[in-house]
Symmetry: C2
Subunit: 276 residues, 2 copies
C-alpha cells in the first residue's frame, strides 16, 4: 500500500495548484492526477451533476490502484465528499474545504471570514457549514467569483482588468464590517494571489484551501502509517478526459513547471458512467 | 412533417440568441431547444470531444421527432457538421458558420474580415475555410476571445471591464490593415454587441452569424416545402442536460424574454453515449 500513488482529482487544471503543494510537502510520494477536462468547469453546474462526475472520475483513479484520494476541486469537495466516503470506506478521501475552513478559523481574529469561490460552491453552503462547525460564532460572507476561473485559464493573472474584476467582486463584502480573513475557495484562484493581495491590502489574511489540504493529506497518511518509504523518486502520471494540448498549455501556470502534452494520457470515463 | 418542430442545439444558453431570431422570423414554427449545460462550454474542448457531444445531443433531438436540425453553436458547427450530415442524410442540418461567412463576404468591401470566436472555433479554421470558399482573396484574422463567454454568462455585458477586455482582444487585429467587417462567431457574443460596437466604432460592419443562420433556415425549409402551415401557435420546449435553475436565470439575457425554470426539462444523454 505505502508505495501506491495518491490519486488527485480535479475538474481540470486548477487542482494542479494542490498537486504542486503536495509534491513540495511529500516529495517521495507518487501521484496520479486526473483532470476531467471534457466536462469542466464544475463551478457552474448542479450538485447532482458534480457528484455524478466526481464518482465516475474517482472510480477511474481507484481502478488504477491508489492509497488515498484527494479531491483537489472545491466544487466537487462541496458536493461529492459524503458520496465518495460512502463509496470508498477503507480509503482516506480528503477534500479541500474542511482544511481551508479550519485554517481560516485559526487565522481569523475577528471571526469575520470571506470565502471566494465558484457559483456552485457558494450556493452549496459547504464553507459556512464547515467554518461554523469549528467556530460557531463566525460571520461568513460568500463571494461567487465565476469569472476568475476564466481569467486564470486565459492566463490573465495580473494587470488592470484583473484588478477591476477583483474590485467588483470584493468591494461589496468590504463596505462595512470588513472580514479580516479571505479564503481562496477555488483551486484556480492561487494563480491570481498577487493581484488579490494587492486589492485586499496587507491587513487581510489569505487562506489557500489547496495548500492547507496538502498538510491534511500528510497528517492523514502519517497517522495511518501509509507514507511512502522515502527512497523512491516521485512518479507523476497525468490523465485527462479531453485532449492534452490545452491541458499542457494551461498547466504551467498552475503547476509551476511544464508538462509535455505527450506525458498526458487521454482517458474515457464512459465505462464508469454507471457507477452512480 | 411540416408541423414537426425544428430542433435547435447548443452547448448551453448562447444558442438562445439564435432561437430568438428564429422565432421572430418563423413565428408559426414549433421548436425544441436543447442546451448541453452539463458539459458546457464547448469552446475550450477538442474537436473530437465536441463532435461526440454534438452527435449525442442531436440523437436526443431526432428521437423526439424534428424536421430540421439547427446547430446554434459555432464550436459544434465548426467540428461536427460533416458527421451530423452523414448521420442524418434525409434531414436539413444547418450550422451557423456557413451563413455567417457568406454574409461577411457580402458585407465586406475591403475583403479584410475579423472573426471573433471561442478558442476551439478559432483553432478549427472553419471560418477561414468557409470565407475563402466564397471569397478566395479575403484576408481573415481569427480572434479567440474565450473570456467573453464567461462575461456574457456572468451578465457583465456593459461597463468598463467589458470595454477593456474587448480592447485587449481586438486592438492587435486593428493595429494595421484593419478589417472592415467583424463576425460574431460565437452565439454568446450578441449580448455584448453594444459594447463591441462602441469599441469598434461606426465604420466597422458587424455580422451576427446566429441571426444570419435563421435566414438560412427559412430559405432551406421554404425550398423544401417544409414551412409550417401558419395556423398554429409557436410551441417551444426547452431541454437541458443539467439542472434548470441556472439555465432559467441566465436565459433571459439571451432569449430576451424569461423562461420559468419549471418549463425546462432536464434530460440524460447517457442513453445516447454509444451513438458515436
Amino acid at each position: 500500500m505505502k508505495n501506491q500513488p495518491i490519486g488527485v482529482f480535479d475538474s481540470g487544471v486548477g487542482g494542479l495548484t494542490v498537486l504542486r503543494t503536495l509534491i513540495e510537502r511529500l516529495p517521495y510520494e507518487s501521484y496520479i492526477y486526473l483532470g476531467d477536462t471534457a466536462r469542466l468547469p464544475y463551478g457552474t453546474k448542479t450538485g447532482e451533476t458534480v457528484t455524478r462526475y466526481a464518482l465516475q472520475a474517482s472510480a477511474a483513479l481507484v481502478d488504477r490502484g491508489i492509497k488515498a484520494l484527494v479531491i483537489a476541486c472545491n466544487t466537487a469537495s462541496a458536493y461529492a465528499l459524503p458520496a465518495l466516503r460512502q463509496r470508498y470506506p477503507g480509503m482516506p478521501v480528503i477534500g479541500v474545504i474542511e482544511a481551508g475552513a479550519e485554517e481560516a478559523c485559526q487565522v481569523s481574529r475577528s471571526g469575520r471570514i470571506a470565502v471566494m469561490s465558484t457559483d456552485s460552491t457558494a450556493r452549496s453552503g459547504a464553507y459556512p457549514a464547515a467554518i461554523l462547525k469549528v467556530r460557531p460564532r463566525a460571520q461568513i460572507v460568500s463571494i461567487a467569483c465565476s469569472l476568475l476561473v476564466a481569467l486564470a485559464e486565459e492566463g490573465w493573472t495580473e494587470g488592470s482588468i484583473v484588478g477591476q474584476v477583483l474590485e467588483k467582486y470584493l468591494s461589496p463584502a468590504f463596505a462595512r464590517d470588513p472580514p479580516d480573513t479571505v479564503v481562496l475557495g477555488c483551486t484556480h484562484f492561487p494563480v491570481l494571489k498577487r493581484e488579490i493581495e494587492t486589492v485586499l491590502g496587507p491587513d487581510i489574511a489569505l487562506v489557500d484551501s489547496g495548500s492547507t489540504a496538502a498538510a491534511f493529506v500528510e497528517q492523514t497518511l502519517r497517522k495511518a502509517g501509509e507514507l511512502a518509504n522515502g527512497k523512491t523518486q516521485t512518479d507523476i502520471r497525468f490523465l485527462a478526459t479531453d485532449g492534452s494540448d490545452r491541458f499542457a498549455r494551461v498547466a504551467q501556470a498552475f503547476l509551476g513547471s511544464s508538462i509535455r502534452a505527450l506525458a498526458i494520457e487521454t482517458i474515457d470515463l464512459s465505462p464508469f458512467s454507471r457507477v452512480d
